[in-house]
């Protein structure tokens, strides 16, 4: 299978409600992550790195920030004459209300785009999963096994997300059983990365729509387990599914570990929209330990075990500990922050003290002044 024969389809809004506080004003795909990225960067980059040249992004709501971020796709080399990047907003038809309610309806809404693409295969992914593996390996396995559908999975403690598929496989990775994943139980669970022939997807979706099905996992995958050859693909490297604010917080902190950083951010390039910020500037009495710092930061105080996004300002005499501060957070002098998760453009005035807990960081909404 040549990668340029695979169409990419990214769901930018799935599971928004699991990160409620962060997705109030944005879609899952445009949630900032890791100091300089947005979650969708990992999907777009992995697709482009594997050789995919045409990608559709299914949007549902609050997608202004997402459109602003991806633009015409140039940062991912997806500004092209042939293929490139397509944003697929919801629309009203005689049969559907526009705002879809599940994966089946979402794909159905995008069917025009899918059908009119020349690619023979389709790869579908979500934005709340972090990874950076080579999809081409998955393509190769798909071809080798002669699978109808290949589903990427990992082994671990299943996240809280409902209707995730728990997979039973034989030694050859053939899927022999599918069930609802059990949150908190160690198992092989699907990470919602699906590869199949486009024609098969069209048929499955049409059937499902005519029967009024909603759940991709329960109504399509489970009901076809005997009719279709489904294979599991064990996703290698760093894989994390975000299912609540704590998991988001921890996923940011996980990048303080060098192995994680290499696996997720450096094993293949992860492209993002550039901001043309100046490199970070450290002041005379700055003290930084075990932290990840992006361009545009100005640090005059102390930063320990923290992730600072672009353009964060840390005042004199200030101590930041175990915190994640997003783009353009401004922290004045003599502030103390402990276990704080600040969204973009937050201002903390001089002298303030805020302390949360590692298992429950204090979240400060976008643009709030304290």
């Amino acid at each position: 299978m040549r990668a340029n024969n695979v169409l990419g389809l990214i769901f930018s809004n799935t599971y928004d409600h699991y990160l409620n506080e962060l997705t109030a004003m944005r879609s899952m795909g445009s949630v900032p992550y890791g100091g300089r990225y947005r979650l969708i960067d990992f999907q777009l980059s992995a697709m482009v790195n594997s050789g995919i040249g045409k990608v559709g992004i299914i949007t549902k709501s609050n997608y202004q920030s997402l459109m602003d971020h991806v633009g015409n796709g140039r940062a991912w080399d997806l500004s092209r004459k042939n293929g490139g990047l397509f944003i697929l907003p919801p629309f009203n038809t005689s049969t559907a209300s526009g705002i879809y309610s599940g994966r089946i309806e979402a794909i159905s809404n995008a069917m025009d785009f899918v059908s009119h693409s020349d690619e023979e295969y389709i790869l579908m992914t979500d934005c709340n999963t972090l990874y950076n593996f080579d999809f081409a390996e998955m393509f190769r396995q798909h071809e080798k096994t002669g699978a109808d559908i290949t589903i990427a999975y990992i082994n671990g403690v299943a996240p809280k997300i409902v209707e995730l598929a728990e997979l039973e496989t034989d030694d050859g990775n053939r899927i022999t059983g599918i069930s609802r994943s059990r949150s908190g139980v160690e198992s092989n669970y699907a990470i919602n990365v699906y590869l199949m022939r486009k024609a098969l997807l069209e048929r499955l979706i049409n059937e499902a729509m005519s029967l009024g099905y909603h759940s991709f996992t329960m109504d399509i995958l489970l009901k076809n387990i005997d009719k279709l050859k489904m294979y599991g693909f064990k996703a290698p490297g760093y894989v994390r599914m975000l299912d609540d604010m704590q998991s988001y917080f921890e996923a940011n902190m996980s990048l303080l570990d060098s192995d994680n950083r290499k696996a997720l951010c450096l094993s293949q390039p992860v492209y993002t929209k550039v901001k043309d910020d100046v490199p970070a500037i450290y002041g005379l009495n700055s003290e930084v330990k075990n932290s990840l710092i992006a361009d545009g930061c100005v640090i005059e105080g102390q930063v320990i075990n923290s992730v600072l996004f672009r353009g964060v300002h840390i005042g004199k005499g200030t101590v930041i500990k175990d915190s994640v501060l997003m783009q353009n957070t401004y922290v004045g002098d003599n502030v103390s922050l402990n276990c704080v998760l600040a969204d973009k453009d937050v201002v903390i005035k001089p002298g303030k003290v805020l302390s949360g807990d590692k298992t429950f960081p204090i979240h400060i909404g976008k643009g709030i002044v304290i």
């Binding site: 100046v278 490199p279 500037i281 450290y282 330990k289 990840l292 992006a294």
Partner: protein, 404 residues
């Protein structure tokens, strides 16, 4: 066919910058890294875009590969345009033969056809050697107001340094009465910045004259501008007030980088209304480990720091291992300082590796004979072996064997 452009810029980027030694062995001077993530040419290019000049010819000649690659289609500066945009102009073969650019004026002469395509009123001549932020549109307005034929940007320099520059004596109305090229006893401290605005019709005529003159060295400063002045054309000086630095020598390049750490210096790169654009590296934010000590420095993305960094500028993807020390130095992209090594008063070029316990450079206060002191330079890709010592002022272009 192109629509008429009021002003286009021609950026002279062919210089070798021979005083930068090994730093320009394989790259042209405008491609030399500066300020943690930039290259020198980012400054004139960004100034153009910020001044609403979207047609820029970049004249290259010496080692153009990296520069051409860096500029690409100009998208980093928003210069990938349907109408105009950035164009790389290299010397080319013509029916009468092939010629290198013989001088700055000859380089423009050889590209008259390029300029004519845009039929501009004014042509802005820039060089790719200087670090400064300047609104060229103000200078062009000045040129129009004065109904000038040629306007030269000038900067007041300290009197003791004036003899290093091309100087101008300026009348009260801003017109230039006299030029002095690097005089021993300067009568003025108004130096030319190498930024010129010409009315294109006038410049075109003088370029043709200059080319026809067999005694000319085809240089703007030496030939063409004096010729215009002698013929009584309207020549004006436009006063610029701000940071401007020619980074033509190792010392000035080192200084200009460290100027960014000095709050007293009037060069603010954080100003979002006058951004300096560059090609951004694709890497993750930089990581500072528990064992690190970083103060008073500028650090770009992708760096991994576990050692001590003080008063230094680190470009993207630099590694400073635990127990290594970097102070008063410039570390260019991808360079590595291994555990126990010390880098001080030095410029370490791209992807150079300083092995364990090696020492590069020396503090001036530790040097007895001050004449022997200077900034040490390690060239691109050079490996300085374990325990090796690189003397101050040294310029290392080949691997240095370890002493251990």
């Amino acid at each position: 066919m192109s629509r008429k452009h009021e002003c286009i810029a021609m950026l002279l980027a062919g210089g070798q910058g021979s005083r930068l030694g090994i730093l320009t062995k394989n790259i042209a001077k405008p491609a030399v890294p500066y300020g943690g993530k930039y290259r020198i040419i980012d400054f004139p290019l960004s100034n153009c875009v910020n001044s609403n000049i979207y047609t820029v010819g970049v004249l290259t000649q010496y080692q153009p590969l990296e520069l051409n690659d860096y500029i690409g289609n100009g998208s980093a500066w928003d210069l990938d345009r349907t109408d105009g945009g950035v164009h790389i102009l290299s010397p080319y073969q013509q029916i009468k033969g092939t010629e290198w650019y013989k001088g700055t004026a000859n380089a423009i002469y050889q590209n008259i056809n390029f300029i004519d395509r845009y039929d501009p009123e004014y042509v802005l001549i820039l060089s790719g050697d200087h670090i400064y932020k300047m609104d060229y549109s103000k200078m062009i307005n000045f040129h129009k107001e004065k109904n000038a034929d040629c306007t030269i940007a000038m900067l007041e320099v300290p009197w003791e340094e004036a003899s290093r520059f091309g100087l101008m004596l300026v009348n009260e109305d801003g017109s230039i009465s006299e030029f002095e090229e690097k005089p021993k006893n300067p009568r003025s401290n108004k130096a030319s910045m190498g930024v010129y605005v010409f009315s294109w019709k006038k410049l075109r005529a003088y370029l043709l004259d200059d080319e026809a003159n067999p005694n000319s060295s085809n240089d703007f400063g030496k030939d063409l501008i004096p010729a215009m002045h002698n013929a009584g054309e309207r020549m004006f000086a436009y006063a610029f007030d701000g940071y401007w630095k020619d980074v033509g020598t190792i010392d000035s390049l080192w200084e200009a980088n460290l100027d960014l750490l000095n709050p007293q210096v009037d060069l603010d790169l954080t100003d979002s209304s006058w951004k300096i654009y560059s090609k951004n590296p694709v890497t993750c934010p930089h990581y500072v480990a528990d064992t690190a000590k970083v103060q008073n420095s500028m650090i770009a993305e992708g760096c991994e720091i576990a050692g001590e960094v003080d008063f230094s500028v680190l470009f993207a993807n630099v590694t400073v291992e635990e127990g290594a020390v970097v102070r008063d130095s410039i570390m260019m992209p991808g360079s590595v300082v291994k555990s126990g090594a010390i880098v001080q008063y030095a410029i370490v070029a791209e992807n150079a590796v300083i092995e364990n316990n090696a020492v590069v450079g020396k503090r001036p206060e530790e040097t007895e004979n001050k004449d022997e002191w200077g900034v040490a330079v390690v060239g691109a890709g050079v490996n300085v072996g374990k325990g090796a010592v690189v003397a101050p002022k040294a310029m290392i272009g080949e691997d240095v064997k370890g002493a251990e």
